[in-house]
């Protein structure tokens, strides 16, 4: 069975390194993007099984990227979990309105993130 592909999108190298380490005990193939635009390009070309994406990023935000991914046929059904320092109600509402499947706040609790990711992957 091929390894499931996870696209990890964050402009913070600290956050990317941390999430990558949290996922390292699981047999996932993790690729990275640094902003929303790169995420849309990589999701379209690489068809990941799930996307973990920050909201506040340069070039294109996670909310904009989420909308773009939901609007395009090849990426419409890829599960997206937004991972953000923004825990305010309006950010969470905007996240779900943009089409994300789940929302996790930073600082990240490894087990919470893994549980939500596994849920989305149907594991």
């Amino acid at each position: 069975m091929p390894r499931k592909k996870i696209l990890l999108v964050d402009d913070s190298s600290t956050a990317r390194m941390l999430i990558r380490l949290m996922l390292s005990g699981w047999d996932y193939a993790v690729t990275e993007a640094h902003d929303g635009r790169e995420a849309v390009l990589k999701a379209t070309s690489e068809h990941p099984d799930a996307i973990l994406m920050d909201i506040v990023m340069p070039v294109m935000s996670g909310i904009e990227a989420c909308r773009a991914l939901r609007a395009a046929e090849p990426t419409r059904n890829i599960p997206i979990i937004l991972v953000s320092t923004r825990g305010e109600g309006d950010f969470i509402e905007a996240g779900f309105k943009s089409g994300c499947n789940d929302y996790v706040t930073k600082p990240i609790a490894g087990p919470e993130l893994l549980n939500k990711l596994r849920d989305q992957l149907g594991e």
């Binding site: 913070s12 600290t14 380490l21 949290m22 320092t85 600082p107 609790a109 490894g110």
Partner: protein, 184 residues
């Protein structure tokens, strides 16, 4: 050197404020956090990179929202602002908190039980270089969904106290040596 006495209770992880369920996942999450903080802080000798890495750890791993880093040239010298992020622009040093941290060399964490006023900073981290305190990190407020610092945060604060100060000190030495060597 004084350190902040903190203990991460792994056996109590069902009650962990970070919502953990599994002990091994909880442990690997803690180790990942400490490893990443250490690795990021010492990844560069460039001052702006070091400051950026410290900010990144404070925001992404501890959940600091409004924060400032102050440094000083020597014991008794005044503190000057090196970095300020978000908020109302208060940038205050909070004399009582500062005195406490400079006397103890330990991380201060606001506690209602200790009678700290609600407008006191959430935390103040000394930047320790050996026996000296070369600066401080003030965390004025945390992100809105986080009420207080948990045991992992205290470990991260203590790690920053030992490593952020050394990394900034090394970056200053590096800059000075570059300048004396004519940029070589």
């Amino acid at each position: 050197m004084p350190t902040t006495p903190t203990t991460i209770e792994l056996d109590a992880c069902t009650a962990c404020p970070r919502g953990c369920g599994a002990r091994s996942e909880h442990l690997s999450s803690i180790l990942a956090n400490l490893y990443v903080a250490m690795k990021r802080i010492h990844a560069s000798l460039d001052r702006s990179d070091v400051l950026g890495a410290i900010r990144d750890v404070l925001e992404n791993q501890i959940g600091a929202e409004e924060l400032a880093i102050f440094e000083r040239d020597g014991d008794g010298a005044p503190f000057s602002l090196s970095l300020y992020v978000a908020g109302s622009g208060a940038q205050a040093l909070y004399a009582r908190v500062l005195e406490e941290v400079l006397a103890s060399h330990a991380v201060y964490v606001r506690s209602a039980a200790s009678g700290d006023p609600p407008d006191a900073p959430a935390a103040c981290i000394p930047l320790r270089v050996g026996e000296r305190v070369t600066g401080i990190i003030m965390i004025y407020s945390l992100v809105c969904h986080k009420e207080r610092l948990d045991p992992l945060d205290l470990e991260l604060c203590d790690l920053l106290a030992d490593h952020a100060g050394v990394a900034l000190y090394a970056s200053a030495l590096h800059a000075r040596s570059k300048a004396e060597g004519g940029g070589r």
